[in-house]
Amino acid sequence: MPIAHIMATGMGGLRGAGDLVAWMQMTRKMKLPEAKRYVAEKLGVSVRDLTDEDVMYPLREKLGIGLITAKSGAAAGIIAKRRIAKLLDIEINSVNLFQRMLAK
């Protein structure tokens, strides 16, 4: 069932900018339109581009913020999230912990 919802209306996660827009809803309580505009501005793309795989794949690869496919050496997980936190100027709990642990 979740697959049906995702295909019908989802932003596509790592295929697009779905995770990034989700972070803005979560960390800054932004509603959807504002969250999309914010992310689009940070990425330097249009709101329409956020779900365009042709735009988002090379952009995500260039920024090192995680890809949907298993590209060898590409950032994923906590490394990608650290870059996402910096890109979006947000606090991500797991990233803060990661950085505290590295600082020790």
């Binding site: 069932m1 697959i3 995702i6 295909m7 209306t9 697009g16 309580k29 906590i78 797991s94």
Partner: protein, 357 residues
């Protein structure tokens, strides 16, 4: 655009039916009217009802939103479903939590993911908190999308025979109202304490988000404990976002005299639930609108969109309606039909203006 005079749809229990377009419009009208009467919210207007009618008349099995109208999909542990049991629609594949989460993230292109206890309640998590925090931490290092930890308040687990407190289900029929209320108050305090404990432990390992799923399932004391826990956790763990998803459209007054910030919780519908959840500090709110299995899906979905639209209108946080089986227009069955699921998705996105699902 009408592709035929007869439309294929379903009943709330999933049974396939065919109805004339005229009857479809009547079902949609009755559904929004019911929501308006019950919840004292505005009905959908003529244009919205016609848009909803168009969605049902689309000939495709699956329907979708236009480009640019996409929203965020969150979940309540569905991300682990590949390795879960049928109770949650799981596939029972012996994958392990991390592999399930990564498979969900990569193969379904999910915007977020959520993990939790197989029982998916806070009470059992407390006993295995070390395992929980270790598993979460390990997963959070590899998962790239936001990773929530989800659990249900499930106040019912605190009543006898499952828990220590007298059961109001036994006390109320015996006319012991005061005793039933006391039992619920005491149980709610224990629940609050457990939820705060679990939340704080998860925060220590960098929990990216906590999902309180099906809040209010045991009525107003269940909802009260949730609101208290949210407020406490937002104060002590400010970097941990919180979702509160409801169990039902109406907070059942099992106690009846419980107030939060001066507001009686019993009787609240989604457009009021969201305001009290915002006041507690939550970052995302998930309303639930119960499906009536004796009514058609058009009736149910029109009803759900009516409630959701008003909730979104008054909300200051993102609204992610619950769209699992039996809520917000999804038929009450394990294998939810794609024709209904995608129509619910589209309607809530385009007409309900939801921020997510």
């Amino acid at each position: 655009m009408r592709m035929s005079h007869t439309v294929f749809t379903r009943m709330g229990d999933g049974e396939r039916i065919s109805i004339e377009v005229g009857e479809l419009r009547e079902q949609l009208r009755k559904g929004t009217e019911d929501a308006s009467n019950k919840g004292s919210v505005p009905q959908l207007d003529a244009a919205e009802l016609e848009a909803l009618c168009d969605i049902f008349c689309e000939p495709g099995r699956a329907v979708s939103v236009p480009h640019g109208e996409e929203l965020i999909v969150t979940d309540d542990g569905v991300a682990e479903n590949l390795q879960g049991s049928e109770a949650d629609g799981g596939a029972g594949i012996d994958l392990g939590v991390l592999s399930s989460l990564l498979a969900y993230e990569r193969s379904t292109a999910a915007d977020t993911a959520c993990m939790g206890h197989e029982d998916f309640s806070f009470k059992p998590v407390k006993a295995i908190i070390d395992y929980t925090t270790t598993t979460y931490y390990t997963a959070s290092q590899s998962v790239t999308v936001p990773l929530f930890y989800g659990a249900q308040p499930n106040l019912g687990l605190y009543f006898q025979p499952d828990g220590p407190f007298p059961n109001p289900a036994d006390l109320l029929p015996a006319g012991k109202i005061a005793e039933a209320r006391k039992a619920q108050e005491d149980a709610a305090e224990a629940l609050r304490s457990d939820m705060v404990f679990v939340g704080r432990e998860l925060n220590q390992v960098g929990c990216e988000g906590l999902n309180f799923d099906t809040a209010g399932s045991s009525g107003d004391p269940d909802f009260y404990a949730t609101l208290q826990a949210v407020r406490e956790l937002k104060a002590s763990c400010p970097a941990m976002p919180i979702i509160v998803g409801m169990a039902a459209e109406f907070v059942l007054g099992m106690h009846g005299e419980i107030f939060f910030d001066g507001q009686r919780l019993a009787g609240m519908f989604p457009h009021r639930q969201v305001k009290i959840v915002e006041a507690a500090g939550a970052d995302i709110f998930g309303p639930a609108v119960n499906v009536n299995t004796s009514q058609t899906i058009p009736w149910n979905l029109s009803r759900a969109v009516t409630f959701v639209k008003e909730t979104v209108k008054v909300a200051e946080v993102s609204v992610h309606p619950n769209v699992g089986m039996g809520v917000c227009g999804i038929p009450m069955m394990l294998q939810t039909p794609i024709d209904c699921v995608t129509r619910v998705s589209k309607a809530l996105a385009l007409i309900g203006k939801a921020d997510g699902l």
